[in-house]
Symmetry: C2
Subunit: 214 residues, 2 copies
């Protein structure tokens, strides 16, 4: 699952470094930063990978990431335990559901999920507990799973801090200039939303410059 | 979740008979029998209920219900344990994922699912085991679930035979002429696909005429 952000792109490069043959799954779900879709497409295309874009929308919104009448929160305390308004209810469940559909049809064994539960905003669907539970459900839901051909959901970055992710990205030669994090999706990263601030902190920690800041 | 078929419509009328206030969730996912969507809309409208239609498609198909190059199987042995080609991988997982998104945003407590594991085609995602596992996952995935405000997935028809469902439908005054079952979605029910045959069997057992056969 490829959003075009730093985490999922690093996950993709990690997958390639392990010699798997990934199929990229990109989601166009009415997010304010739909700009990330272009980034995701470019990453997949540059690598010559097969990709699918799933388009849908959630008419009930319920998130500042979707709702034009709600602002993206800025300058929040990082690693706060309060779930921010950018949380999209069950969005990652929906994403993963499409992934298991693709996995069953294409006989794919692993779903790679760029979730991270260290430098994150407290989203419940980014935690190990959720991932394990989803995996269990997926194997009851599918014909293959019931035959014992298990689907596994892998989240290799789960326990990484954002700067550890960035370090790995650099090691794997991730084209950082092709990754988009900012929730606001304007011409340049806003620098003050959660996504920008975690990213900024990582670049600061490693003492390098974010190519998007040029 | 309302497909416009006999099972989900009966489930809806059951929900109303229990004095709940349902919101209907209808899916437009490229099914060959897209005709059912019109039926579902009409049912919801006639009852004056709030409804949402979620539109998406599965580019990888993987089912004769979606793929124009694959015929809907006909005259299969009923209650065969062989999963038919009409099975859409992870489709019901996707449906339920949207339902938990809506449930979290609207603070809905119950999701009603018209699944049935007696007179059915052996789909793995229509079994109790799957439903319980999905519910567990849903409560780990959502903010409300993690706060202990549990979402419950109810499948009141799970253990009913098709004729018991039809009997209940008649008791609840379900407008049978507004329910559509046939997978082929032509002008009239084909009579030979799984959906038609289970329906036919039920009407035969009760010795009544299907209004769609007129």
């Amino acid at each position: 699952m490829l959003s075009g952000g730093l985490d999922s792109t690093t996950t993709l490069y990690y997958v390639l470094s392990k010699n798997y043959s990934p199929i990229c799954l990109i989601f166009d779900y009415g997010q304010k930063h739909k700009k990330e879709i272009k980034f995701a497409k470019k990453i997949a295309k540059n690598l010559g990978l097969e990709y699918y874009i799933i388009k849908f929308n959630l008419p009930w919104k319920g998130s500042s990431l979707l709702d034009k009448n709600q602002d993206i929160p800025i300058n929040r305390k990082l690693n706060s335990t309060k779930i921010p308004s950018t949380y999209v209810p069950a969005r990652n469940v929906i994403f993963l559901s499409y992934a298991i559909s693709l996995a069953e049809v294409m006989k794919v064994k692993y779903i790679f999920y760029g979730a991270n539960q260290v430098d994150f905003s407290g989203y419940p669907d980014c935690r190990k507990e959720f991932i394990l539970s989803f995996q269990k459900m997926a194997n009851k839901a599918t014909v293959l799973g019931n035959k014992g051909v298990k689907i596994e959901i892998k989240a290799p970055l789960l326990k990484y801090t954002k700067s550890e992710i960035l370090k790995l990205a650099i090691k794997l030669k991730v084209p950082l200039e092709l990754t988009w994090s900012c929730y606001r999706g304007k011409k340049r990263p806003c620098g003050v939303c959660d996504a920008c601030r975690y990213r900024k902190k990582a670049f600061l920690t490693l003492g390098i410059k974010d190519p998007l800041e040029n």
